[in-house]
């Protein structure tokens, strides 16, 4: 066996590590072992790569320097980013992945194009465009999530035509480049169009659609790695890329189903078109409001309380306060659970991570499918910063933009408290008929302070101080 065979053998073990790491992710109890398997696989792959023929002495120094710089940025990024900033952190990391894949595609093209077949040329063209698209698209997504860019979808007339033109331009250039690989300008132009398309693709997408988009960018990043693997004949890249692509695709499908929308609808439909509907349907009747004391009293004597967290909880960073409230209620003998809608928050699983950070045991976090049948037997539901995912209009109002979206059936509970800053319509501009339900009472205020007050009311601390 020559040296390359040994390297490939090491890569085989690495691929096994990656597959095992996904397998062990299927349970909370084995998930950390999964991370370890991935790390070991990666370690083996990197060490094996250092034995690659033709790496020069100067090359080793450059590799070491580059990896040190990368670690110097990556370690703090991993250790210090707060859990509330996780969606933008994930998006940013997709951006780095896309950039690396795109640049390596370009470098490889200029080094090896004499040896490329037409298939290679086509694949590498797609790979470069995808990598660059993921780079700018993810940066845009991160910017929107961090609120450096407006979270509202930005739409203008002819947007889809402009996007289609950029896409067609990129496809045309890839085809041109297959037949004219000696042209030096074509590949940089493909990269430029990819960069542009990434920006254009994310501009019309609103914050509420971010979970799907992040998952989709994840899938694209995987596909570009796999495409690179095809051109380079690297089986490890193909395997890792396929695993990554499959994961992103599955998550994107789950997100789309949870919103009852198609991919194309998320990417090209934008929510902007629904603004008119939202504004037209303002007058929905009267609502009732409750004070914190009233809400706390009712929750204290309830036998079951379900808390429905949404993006508002993340924005207010209220997860720790929420956990204190849950603890206080449990001490009073109340059964407390959390109902998590698949698209609550800004990325798949967002609420679960925040509540886990606040030490809520994961048995208390229930999926929509697990909890929906229980709402009818629930005494009190507390809706915290969630809106569209609890709007009953999704079940029956065919004119509603969210009609058909699976929702949490909180309106079936005995009493519903909705914590909200004001009666302003939600992100998508859709009026929520839950707020006008006669079983619903609005508790106005910032999620974090309302929850804190509820907790002190439940524990009786506030009364003690007041007396």
């Amino acid at each position: 066996m020559d040296r390359m065979n040994w390297i490939e053998l090491a890569y085989l073990i690495a691929a096994l590590g990656f597959a095992l790491s996904l397998k062990w992710m299927s349970q909370a109890s084995t998930a950390r072992r999964g991370v370890l398997a991935g790390e070991v696989g990666f370690g083996i792959a990197i060490v094996a790569t250092l034995f690659w023929p033709g790496i020069t002495g100067e090359g080793f120094i450059l590799i070491a320097v580059a990896m040190l710089i990368g670690s110097a940025i990556g370690v703090p990024l991993g250790l210090l980013v707060p859990m509330t900033a996780m969606p933008q952190r994930i998006a940013l990391s997709h951006a780095f992945g896309g950039l690396a894949a795109g640049l390596i595609g370009i470098a490889h093209f200029f080094l090896e194009r004499e040896h490329f077949s037409k298939f290679d040329l086509g694949v590498i063209g797609i790979e470069i465009a995808l990598g660059m698209l993921v780079f700018t698209g993810s940066l845009m997504a991160a910017g929107k999530l961090q609120e450096w860019l407006p979270q509202r979808p930005i739409v203008y007339p002819g947007q889809n035509i402009v996007n289609a033109a950029v896409l067609a331009g990129a496809v045309g250039l890839v085809i041109y480049q297959i037949y004219n690989p000696d042209q030096n300008w074509a590949v940089p132009a493909i990269a430029a169009l990819g960069l542009l398309f990434g920006v254009f693709l994310i501009i019309p997408i609103g914050g509420a659609d971010m979970p799907t988009v992040i998952a989709l960018l994840n899938a694209y990043a995987g596909l570009s790695a796999a495409a690179l693997g095809f051109v380079l004949d690297s089986k490890l890249l193909i395997v890792a890329g396929a695993l990554d692509g499959a994961s992103g695709l599955i998550l994107a499908i789950i997100m789309c189903r949870a919103m009852n929308r198609s991919f194309s609808n998320v990417l090209f439909g934008a929510f902007g078109a629904t603004d008119a509907v939202g504004e037209g349907a303002q007058e929905q009747g009267t609502y009732r409001s409750a004070s914190v004391d009233e809400a706390a009293d009712l929750m204290k004597i309830a036998s079951s309380v379900v808390i429905v967290p949404g993006y508002g909880m993340a924005v207010a960073q209220a997860q720790h306060k929420v956990r204190e409230l849950a603890d206080a209620l449990e001490k009073e003998g109340v059964d407390v659970r959390f109902a998590i809608h698949p698209v609550a928050g800004r990325m798949p699983g967002h609420m679960n991570v925040l509540l886990a950070e606040a030490n809520v045991p994961y048995e208390q976090l229930l999926d929509m499918d697990e909890i929906n049948s229980d709402f009818a037997q629930t005494d009190v539901v507390l809706v915290l910063g969630a809106n569209d995912v609890v709007n009953p209009a999704a079940r029956h109002d065919k004119s509603s933009p969210i009609f058909g979206m699976p929702i949490l059936d909180v309106d079936k509970a005995q009493t519903i408290f909705v914590v909200k800053r004001s009666m302003r319509a939600g992100f998508a501009g859709i009026e929520n008929e839950l707020f006008f339900n006669e079983k619903t009472q609005m508790v106005f205020g910032d999620a974090k302070s309302v929850v804190a007050e509820l907790t002190s009311e439940v524990t009786g601390q506030r009364d003690a101080i007041g007396l």
Partner: protein, 109 residues
Amino acid sequence: MSSDVIITSLFIFMLAAFVGFESIRRIPKLLHTPLMALTNALSAIALIISIVILGQGHTTYAQVLGFIAVVASTINLVGGFIITDRMLKMFKPRERAPKPAAGSEDGVA
């Protein structure tokens, strides 16, 4: 690339995608964010090719692109694994043992 190699690559891609679909389908929604962070780290796999291109240093152009790519994918790799583990550490089952000092806490209030 010859057709043989392409076919082999397609086989590998198909089987890996199948394994990916089947294992990821089983991952509960609870762990979807850590899953994204983990696959993020895995997508840094372009690192191995970046290392080769940077290390061989055939042209300055390739070296510059390779260098940026190694930095970018190392950020992804290191940050991705650290953050996945950090998140997973937080997912705890309910503690069954009764809290020992519960009584004294009530007294303070």
